[in-house]
Symmetry: C2
Subunit: 674 residues, 2 copies
Amino acid sequence: VAGATSLCLCLCLAENTEMVNVVTERKAEESHRQDSANLLIFITLLTLTILTIWLFKHRRFRFLHETGLAMIYGLFVGIILRFGVHLPQDLSDVTLTCAVNSSPTTILVNVSGRFYEYSLKGEVQDSKGHDVPNAEMLRKVTFDPEVFFNILLPPIIFHAGYSLKRRHFFRNLGSILSYAFVGTLTTCFVTGLVMYGCVVFMKVIGQLGGDFFFTDCLFFGAIVSATDPVTVLAIFNELKVDVDLYALMFGESVLNDAVAIVLSSSIVAYQPEGDNRHTFDGSALLKSLGVFLGFFSGSFAMGAATGVMTALVTKFTKLRDFPLLETALFFLMSWSTFLLAEACGFTGVVAVLFCGITQAHYTYNNLSAESKSRTKQLFELLNFLAENFIFSYMGLTFFSFQHHVFNPLFIIGAFLAIFLGRAANIYPLSFLLNLGRKNKIASNFQHVMMFSGLRGAMTFALSIRDTATYARQMMFSTTLLIVFFTVLVCGGGTTPVLSLMQIRVGVDTDQDNSVTPDGMTQRSTKHESAWPFRLWYTFDHNYLKPFLTHSGPPLTSTLPACCGPIARCLTSTQAYEDAGQLNDEDTELILNDGGGLMYSDMTVSTDAHGMPTTSTSQAGLYLLAGTSDDPLDRELVFGGTRLVLPTDEPPDPLTSFPPPPPSPPLSDPLRHRV
Amino acid sequence: VAGATSLCLCLCLAENTEMVNVVTERKAEESHRQDSANLLIFITLLTLTILTIWLFKHRRFRFLHETGLAMIYGLFVGIILRFGVHLPQDLSDVTLTCAVNSSPTTILVNVSGRFYEYSLKGEVQDSKGHDVPNAEMLRKVTFDPEVFFNILLPPIIFHAGYSLKRRHFFRNLGSILSYAFVGTLTTCFVTGLVMYGCVVFMKVIGQLGGDFFFTDCLFFGAIVSATDPVTVLAIFNELKVDVDLYALMFGESVLNDAVAIVLSSSIVAYQPEGDNRHTFDGSALLKSLGVFLGFFSGSFAMGAATGVMTALVTKFTKLRDFPLLETALFFLMSWSTFLLAEACGFTGVVAVLFCGITQAHYTYNNLSAESKSRTKQLFELLNFLAENFIFSYMGLTFFSFQHHVFNPLFIIGAFLAIFLGRAANIYPLSFLLNLGRKNKIASNFQHVMMFSGLRGAMTFALSIRDTATYARQMMFSTTLLIVFFTVLVCGGGTTPVLSLMQIRVGVDTDQDNSVTPDGMTQRSTKHESAWPFRLWYTFDHNYLKPFLTHSGPPLTSTLPACCGPIARCLTSTQAYEDAGQLNDEDTELILNDGGGLMYSDMTVSTDAHGMPTTSTSQAGLYLLAGTSDDPLDRELVFGGTRLVLPTDEPPDPLTSFPPPPPSPPLSDPLRHRV
């Protein structure tokens, strides 16, 4: 392994060293102040966003989601920074000519005997930027793209994994995986092809100002195929849409982020040997495929492994006596998954996603009640902050980025391409899936999935990662427009579309879980899936769960008799105690429908915990645009889409498993409105 | 305002640009991997620390606190990195000679037409470091000192301010302020003078290898006068020592951090004009004093202002309906205090401390119950992580820092100086304070305060901030030793010393507050303080609290009649409702004795909430080293030190204010030990 190369530049000078020091210190201080001020801009933006979100929630506006709001605020600040503020510039450019054979990551500069270390921040474009006023300042508010990948994305993705609704997720696992893998690949290639057509056309009529290869088109396809789980699902959550639609959308958008990121790396890795670096080459394609599979499975394995390790540690150490330690450990282990994957050259974001899913499935069951709520709240907060930060930054960067290439033809082509790409994903795949599914994906579900494929944080992070070439700059500008359009228009239009498509809303997922005794739910979940999932389910339930958590049947009863001693050793005392009762935490939801933010907006939420209604045969309730504020009745049976609970009985609150611990009591929303 | 100066170096080269690109990318990737791996080392360290802390808590070892543990682990890893691992080095030093007149913050390097941006990381020592094996790697695990100031210290200090026990704190405010201001200044000057004597002596016998001025001695005095609130107070908390001793120790160590940081900046700012830069100069001294007062009052004002703003925002927006938004806002506003202060050139850490205190006093009362627990837990976690990170880093840096200067004479002198400095703070001041206090500071209290003046995170952060000169390096090495010694020896010895000094333990502070109806507590708190504090207390209770929070008497009853309309407008409906009841949240504790970690270790803690015992005249219980594990009885009357609650009555749980919301139910600590 080669260490970092460092380069020594001796900058010799005959001046008073101490004076130089003072000047340097003052400059460093100035720069530190400037950095603080820049960060302050973002914090203020977020604060404003929060206050406005509150206002919107308070007044029950639903046409604009918080992420859209953050974006719009960002746009305003971008305009102000770009056109409003004029700072004097003091650029004392000293041009020196020296011979160096590359750009090292570290430079040591020798100024009259004192060494200063400089680290590579990245390539900057040549002095074109100086035409723009405030170029220096705009460059300063521009973050290192790696910040998005290494600091802001991980909590968002982890939270998504951690809050996957397990039961509904597993019930639709086959379809979700198909959409995520086959579907994303399809979208990527369809988009890439359409874009290639567009680019060729542009070249013919002379509208293209630089190189744009087929690999660039594919790369564009990969980055815009990542749909965002945030905005639409917040709305879905708030309105409590049908659980299956929710599971499909959520599962798909979470997993396709992982697929898209690995796919884009693989496309970058596609580099045929020799001079013809942008033509088709079989071996390079195979290599790319290998990279894709290797990255994906490696990251998956790493995430799952750390998740399992956390489960084992929390199971065997009885750390649950100390919630703070437990939460800290949980947080650190999750973060170390990311770092470990990055250090090994895998994709940290993907590893963190699978770590989140594994921890939700196993580790969560071992945590103390306090840690459960602590971790939930912590990741919820981190997710909220990171997400809003990214969206405000998106707005701001629209004006602060200095190398935009807006090409009308390319933009029109791109919008067409993402539409076709999404359609080529949803409709044919749904048709194929419906051939095998008992619980068909209705056509109105398909339309909603088509409409709600917003592009968000992941698309943005992938496109800003490299904006060095003309092609990448054009992609970045176009991607920004796509994100703005989908978040504002599609995000805002979700509620009307749901009502137009007659999607069932007001479904209480908690109730599904607390109503039926364990055995039944389990059987129905099992029977509904295809055989590989049934096999996995049995294995997981009988061996993995008891091994990794305190729940599930004792290993002594599931393992063959010869393994008796080991089984006794590995089964926790709690599992024996629980074995008599008919509860399985498998049926418990991880996050109470995504946490207090969404929940507390609904007047119905406060009494949704605790007292299950017994109205089992009410007619389905459709969302009518005008009535969305009324308290929504919940109902359990709905024609066609509900096959899980055919034998609903009025629940007996004494024998059935108590509903998952409600999030700490929300202050009564009505109290402060009088 | 001068913008950042940038410097253009043209590094011209006739080579294939694309190949260079690939090489550069690979190197950047390599460097990113290395960074991830380094961070992973720390995460692993923290994880190990957490597991060991759990083991210690589980087995009830008290001789070593978690911070000491983190430090020891850090030492081990430091040894391994320094002596165990041998990485091949690949330093291709290219030495170029160019004339530059300073070290700018940004360098643009032109490598064959492409510009790369480099940012100043700081000065590095010349190639002496290359003698040490793994110099490159050791340099990489060394963080930018600013990380400590800008990322790790703020949450620690904020948490300290946020968890100040308000009632006991305000009751002893005069003494605390004296210790913090007069005491810290005394310590600083006494230490500085002793060190100067030591340095002069060393110069005489030729033991000094470089310059060491009087200002350096004073600077050393300032940095070692910051006592650490962490370790001792964790033990105090666990053992529930006397509330007044706790308040004195906590208040002093929290505030003297703020004093020490501002003091050290003022000493650095002491720079007489002309050539004689290290002699006495009246105007420079005055300037330094001005800097001290300006920095301190500015930072104080800024912190208090943001705190007040948060209080107003949370009061008037009814944001409490949405706990997530509320928590996010609270977090962001607290952070923006830090950034705002830094951007204005004040001391962010000090601003954040006073912001924490203000928010604890006002904003906390406006939060919803869920947000109260969320913010508490969030800052507790951040504090825990930051603290343990700093202490592991301290251990690691002992071996990874490459410019240690260990001078035995200086070290001995320093230990003597801090002993004398601490003694000159505690004993004379306590004597003077006792002249005015009704509630005397007993001599055993003084001995404990003397003994427990540990040096921790702040001392370390201040000393690592600048290690450029010989004097600073020697200071840094000595400071590290002081921190190790005080944390391990004094920290570990606290329990025996408490028992030796016959300090009362097992005091339940919660009970004090829930027992007496509001009026009485208030009066006694008021009567005990000196008149300026009484004045402040009345003003705060009658005007500020009702204005900023939902609690306190309605403004309509406290303001003169002419202000009627404004008063009605500013008083919340809740205040009217509460006015009839005899409760004042002023008497409520902010943090339930520092949170679950400490609490849950005590068998007594679970039933300490909720059911107040009525044994009002039991004999005081002293800690005997052997009996510390027994459930500790609580008692209310203790000879001499308790003047506040002379008319204790058995509490009536129905009329008195309920005890502060217990932290979410801890899992029964006995359940998993069977």
